[in-house]
Amino acid sequence: MDVIKHWLGIAFLIAAVWAFVVYVVPLTRRVSVPQDYTDLEGLKPYEGYGLEVGVPPDALRPGDGVCYRLGQDADKQACFGWIIAKPGDRVAIVGGAVKVNGNDAAVKNPVANQPDSGPLLVPAGHVYVVSSYHRLDSVAFGPLPEAAIRGRLSELP
């Protein structure tokens, strides 16, 4: 009986640690907006936003706000934008407007000084992400590989 009690105690402890890591730790994950970041309207410098890390690529959907990195430089470690296209979608720029599968994407500002381009079939393992001014997004850097996505923003301004 004592042995069963002993092992039940250990099992309970393991379950508690697992639940803490899976459910509690992600709630504490937040990402701060860098001081000079201005590519997404509404974000406040130094403000922290909830970040869901470890989201499986298949769970990312068009319309999700994401935080991503675009290189090793400090100013490219935390960039923000919305996913507008997933692998298999066709992205094009027509008349300065970003179109996905022929439909207008919900992009605030047009792409300036860009002749009609595309369509591009978004490759496997990539997502097309746009921000407000297209300086640090897929329009400027191309479709982002999943490795560049730091996590999904659980709240947006």
Partner: protein
């Protein structure tokens, strides 16, 4: 205890055999007939032997447990170490991806090689660190395809397809359908952009789109030229030849008037190159020929379309006034110039920097200037020049010449056909693409030798 043996009645105290509680009762042979059970020491021996048996079992079981525990510890340590290595390799691969995205290809290659060293059995690390344009990797890829897990088969298949396309070999089996459609399109006589919904790998698009673009450029297929250039601009907005791609798209876009087209043309500072591009575009799009010709004429009158004058060029002004700055500041400014595509300004700053700072800028500057020969001097694999399989078609010999970092070479290229050099005027270069007009009396399978400066980068027969 009186000190006399057997008096206490406690067996064995006297050290003599004890029977029936009477010490010494059997000590005198012949007094009573001894039974088998009462032989001296028999019971004790049996008890001891049982005790020894018990000990032996305990020892054996203990040894088995120890061995099992040892094996489990070894397995556990191995498992843990493998997990750590796998995690580090995954991190290094992610790091390489992000570095490549940021444009730091050299560091990305190093990180990919680190990942392969950590986990050489993982297909993802092997593919990331491999040079798919190399003929030496073909056998490794074939072996990898045989032993890779099911989840990685598509990636390995696509890599084999890329290797075959880059080397001009027949496509192997096992390529995913989505990628196969692109490879077939890129190698077809009459190429056409695939329309399927299945998504190919990004590497497949990176390899096939420039080939489709080159085919469209050669054949004058306007629709294919527009589609492939547009897709390439969206896939790689920071492509080394983005200015040329933008010019192609702007020239073919009916909504772009002369003023806007001129603006795009300004970005190409090499006047002969710009004029050659505009001339070809005018031939491909006759309805836009007038606008394109007016832009070309404006370029001829103005000489260089971009003014380059310091007064109108804040970056040149900053370089001019940088003399009093510290070496670190000048190095930062030089890197900024390189990012803005102003290698000539970066060169000015570089030449005035101390030796140690010059060494740090060397690779970036030589890459920007396209000095492949000087870059290759450090013997690093990623800096060595490499050439794609030459294509002999319609009396033209075309091939791409670059290195693993995608540097566009500016060093002189010599093409020898059956030992006779092609005249420099018959060699046209567009970025990494080199097109040489073959002499009229060239045989069916001429012996081609390609030299970068004095270094031979290709030698062999090239059939049409």
């Amino acid at each position: 205890m009186n000190g006399k043996p057997g008096v206490s009645g406690k067996p064995g105290v006297s050290g003599k055999p004890v029977m029936n509680g009477k010490p010494g009762a059997t000590s005198k042979p012949g007094v009573s007939k001894p039974s088998a059970a009462s032989k001296p020491g028999t019971l004790a021996d049996e008890a001891m032997s049982r005790l020894r048996l018990g000990n032996w079992l305990s020892l054996s079981w203990g040894a088995v447990q120890l061995i099992a525990a040892g094996v489990l510890i070894v397995i556990g340590v191995g498992f843990t170490w493998s997990g750590i290595q796998r995690w580090r390799a995954g991190n290094a691969l992610d790091h390489a991806t992000v570095l490549r995205l940021g444009g730091n290809r050299s560091a990305a290659q190093m990180s990919a090689r680190d990942a392969r060293d950590l986990m050489p059995s993982l297909p993802a690390t092997v593919l990331a660190a491999s040079d798919l344009a190399s003929a030496e990797i073909t056998t490794d890829l074939d072996l990898l395809a045989q032993r890779c897990p099911v989840a990685d088969r598509a990636a390995v298949g696509a890599a084999r397809g890329i290797n075959a396309v880059l080397l001009g070999k027949p496509l192997p089996d096992g390529i995913p359908d989505a990628d196969l459609a692109w490879f077939k399109a890129a190698t077809a006589d009459k190429p056409k952009l695939p329309t399927g919904e299945d998504q190919p790998f990004a590497a497949t698009l990176t390899v096939t789109l420039p080939r489709l673009l080159a085919a469209a450029w050669r054949t004058g297929d306007r629709a294919l030229l527009s589609d492939s250039a547009g897709a390439l601009v969206l896939l790689q907005p920071r492509h080394p030849q983005r200015n040329e791609l933008q010019l192609v798209l702007a020239a073919l876009d009916a909504k772009w008037d002369k003023a806007k087209l001129l603006q795009v043309a300004k970005a190409i500072t090499d006047a002969p190159r710009r004029e050659a591009l505009l001339g070809r575009l005018a031939a491909i799009a006759p309805d836009r020929a007038e606008v394109i010709a007016s832009v070309a004429a404006a370029g001829t009158v103005a000489g260089r379309l971009d003014t380059g004058a310091s007064a109108n060029d804040p970056l040149a002004l900053r370089v001019k006034n940088a003399a009093g700055r510290s070496p670190a500041e000048r190095e930062t400014l030089a890197r900024h110039c390189l990012e803005r595509g102003r290698a000539e300004l970066a060169r000015q700053l570089h030449d005035a920097l101390p030796q140690e700072f010059q060494a740090r800028l060397r690779v970036a500057l030589l890459s920007a200037e396209g000095r492949l020969i000087q870059l290759a001097e450090d013997q690093k694999p990623e800096h060595q020049p490499r050439v794609s399989a030459p294509v002999n078609d319609l009396g033209l010999l075309s091939f791409h010449l670059s290195n693993r970092l995608g540097t566009i070479p500016t060093d002189p290229v010599v093409v020898r056909v059956d030992g006779v050099p092609v005249a420099p005027a018959d060699i046209n270069r567009q970025g990494t693409l080199v097109v040489a007009t073959l002499p009229p009396k060239t045989g069916v399978a001429p012996m081609i030798q390609i030299l970068l400066g004095t270094r031979s980068v290709f030698s062999g027969e090239v059939k049409p």
